[in-house]
């Protein structure tokens, strides 16, 4: 009940990372993933985090735990959930395997077990069970350089701003994840512009809002469209009825006229 109700986050300070890959080791151990952590080169179903060298800098890859996650918004069965504590968690039991989450994620985080007959999506779970027990994430605990630190999101944002103001020469003046896709729970500090490290810098929008706009039109399509179609049907149907009645009347008139004229003919013949 102490600080657990505040949304938690990670602050990753790229200037401090020494590239030891302890975070990758701790993550694999925590999640029981087999394999050699030194050989992990990127995210896959076998690793939930990875460390990539960019020149003499190291960049961590992991789920950003967005404040408005695309994965949770697109999942047709609600297998993803943004929890109050911060983690975006995934329930493999609900999943039907449509992989829309992979298509939607702006950071290409969710990975798939392509080699399994009953596959699941895999991604960093922000060590949700550890958080529930009041512990930090395994990667933050393992980091010997305090390059990855764990804390409440607002505290970490304040700390990041403090570092940027304290050492403006050392830091590029942006916290990646503060505003991107509506804000994420993993924040980055960098000595160089983020695009130089392979970060996408065109993520000003919040993707779930884009689909929400389209979905919001459904009731209008159904109500207006339904009324319109019914109206058209009613008019064309009525027109057809009128035409039918008119043609019947015309036929009746014609029949009457022909009987009249034939009667007249007969009269003439008679006379």
């Amino acid at each position: 009940m102490l600080t657990t109700t505040r949304p938690m986050a990670l602050l990753i300070d790229i200037t401090r990372c020494v590239g030891c890959k302890e975070c990758v080791r701790a993550c694999m151990e925590e999640h029981g993933l087999p394999g050699d952590y030194e050989k992990i080169t990127g995210l896959s179903s076998k690793s939930h985090t990875a460390l990539t060298a960019r020149g003499d800098l190291y960049v961590r890859e992991l789920c950003r735990h967005c404040l408005e996650p695309s994965c949770a918004s697109v999942c047709p069965v609600g297998a993803f959930e943004k929890t109050a504590a911060g983690p975006v968690v995934y329930d493999a039991n609900r999943c039907m395997g449509c992989r829309y989450c992979m298509q939607a994620c702006p950071f290409n985080v969710p990975k798939y077990q392509w080699d399994k007959a009953a596959p699941a999506v895999t991604k960093c779970d922000f060590c949700a069970p550890r958080l529930a027990a009041g512990k930090p994430t395994a990667c933050a605990e393992a980091c010997p350089a305090e390059a990855t630190v764990f804390g409440a999101r607002e505290d970490l944002l304040a700390e990041a701003h403090r570092r940027i103001t304290a050492e403006p020469k050392k830091y590029y003046p942006q916290i990646y994840g503060e505003k991107e896709v509506g804000g994420t729970s993993v924040l980055f500090l960098s000595p160089v512009p983020f695009e130089e490290l392979g970060f996408r810098t065109d993520l000003k929008m919040t993707p779930p809002h884009l689909t929400a706009e389209a979905l919001a039109k459904i009731p209008h399509v159904v109500s207006v469209g339904g009324a319109l179609l019914f109206g058209i049907w009613w008019i064309t149907n009525r027109r057809e009825e009128v035409a039918r009645v008119e043609s019947e009347e015309a036929r009746a008139r014609r029949a009457a006229r022909s009987t009249q004229s034939s009667a007249r003919e007969e009269e003439r013949h008679d006379s």
Partner: protein
């Protein structure tokens, strides 16, 4: 050539029968491998390309090509354009087969297909995929109900046929609404990926682009189908009707072209089509094949009233439509994913098997159900075809 005009369903060996069984013999073992060893074994799907041919072709195109169903039923029942009545059944049948193909493709593509029913109970109304799932379920049901009249008629169930007939207008209305939602929602699926889908295809107007192009493709499919069934079964629609449809198609293509170009200009993305990129080349292929060429062809009254010319133009529309859907689902995403996706031969083989099954079922339906009007020969001399000899077991066993 009386009863054996039907190449797929007669027991006489023929080229297409051979192809059909060959596809079945290749596809079925691959399906077994897919279910026992996972998607990775038979597909080239990967973490950077989670959706491939089965979504891009089987699903997106299957649904789109079925659009003729709602366009024609709306024309006949809502707008009272009664002269199109003879087309209703073949198009509704095609639409139903399209949707059946989609469901089968989904059962193959979903990682856990046994959970396919989950959206019924596990709701997430924020998800476009959730909308798609409901549209597929509901519209397939509507199509089956629309088709059922034909089946009741064939079985001689007068009461059931009567009830079905009485429900026609509400069914058609529901079908048009569901189709509109579904066609557009397939485009809306991609709205979530503004940073992944290339600007030649990503637009807030994707839902409308999918809707209008689906109507064009659906109408084109009616023409293509009529020609194919004329060859395979000797049964088809009269030229004047097809000419009328081709006029609607011409208008549809014009609207689509204006819409598409206007959207590109409005977003300032048109210049992307004139850069020496792979994407630009694919855009031109799609637009030339599916819009410019058929539009130019159909402008000529000679082409519109000539069965070969019509067939060529309609086939182009369908091909261009397939190219558009594959561009949205594959080409447009390749740049952001950093890799090329080319379907594995086994993905192609399974898709081809599904299409072949679709053709075979259409053939069976034309043979055993009153799909095409029996007395089609009003004006144009229809080829001498007798209605299919009723199979005694089917009628006698069920009727009464």
């Amino acid at each position: 050539m009386t009863r054996d005009g039907n190449r797929l369903t007669s027991w006489r060996p023929s080229f297409w029968r051979g192809v059909f069984y060959l596809l079945l013999a290749t596809g079925l073992p691959l399906v077994a491998i897919r279910y026992s060893q996972g998607l990775g074994r038979v597909t080239n799907l990967s973490d950077s390309f989670p959706w491939g041919l089965w979504i891009g072709f089987d699903l997106l195109c299957g649904v789109g090509l079925a659009a003729g169903g709602f366009a024609i039923t709306a024309a006949v029942y809502i707008f009272h354009l009664k002269r199109f009545q003879p087309i209703v059944r073949p198009t509704v049948l095609t639409a139903f087969l399209g949707y059946a193909l989609v469901i089968v493709a989904l059962l193959l593509d979903l990682g856990k297909p046994w959970n396919i029913w989950r959206p019924i109970v596990m709701w997430n109304p924020h998800s476009v995929m959730f909308e798609v799932a409901w549209c597929v379920m509901l519209y397939t049901t509507v199509l089956l109900l629309e088709l059922s009249g034909m089946i009741f008629e064939r079985l001689g169930w007068q009461r059931a046929a009567h009830v079905q007939h009485a429900a026609t207008i509400p069914l058609v209305l529901l079908g048009v609404l569901l189709s509109t939602l579904h066609q557009s929602s397939l485009g809306a699926l991609y709205l979530i990926a503004p940073t992944k889908l290339h600007a030649l295809w990503y637009t807030a107007a994707l839902p409308w682009i999918f809707w209008t192009s689906a109507i064009c493709a659906g109408l084109a499919m009616v023409i293509v189908e009529s020609q194919l069934s004329a060859r395979a079964f000797g049964r088809h629609l009269e030229m004047p009707l097809l000419t009328d449809i081709s006029r609607a198609l011409l208008v549809g293509l014009g609207v689509f072209a204006v819409f598409r170009i206007e959207d590109l200009v409005g977003r300032g993305a048109l210049h992307l089509a004139f850069q020496p990129t792979y994407e630009a080349a694919m855009f031109h292929l799609e637009f030339a094949l599916g819009v410019v060429l058929p539009f130019a062809l159909l402008l000529s009254p000679k082409v519109r009233s000539n069965s070969r010319g019509l067939y060529a133009a309609a086939l182009l529309v369908v091909l261009g439509f397939v190219a558009h859907r594959l561009n949205v689902s594959v080409t447009g995403l390749e740049g952001a994913s950093g890799g090329h996706y080319v379907p594995a031969w086994s993905e192609v083989a399974i898709s081809m098997m599904l299409v072949a099954i679709g053709f075979a079922v259409f053939g069976l339906a034309v043979r055993y159900l009153p799909v095409y009007p029996v007395a089609a020969a009003e004006g144009a001399p229809a080829p001498a075809v007798r209605p299919p000899a009723p199979r005694p077991g089917l009628v006698a066993g069920r009727a009464g």
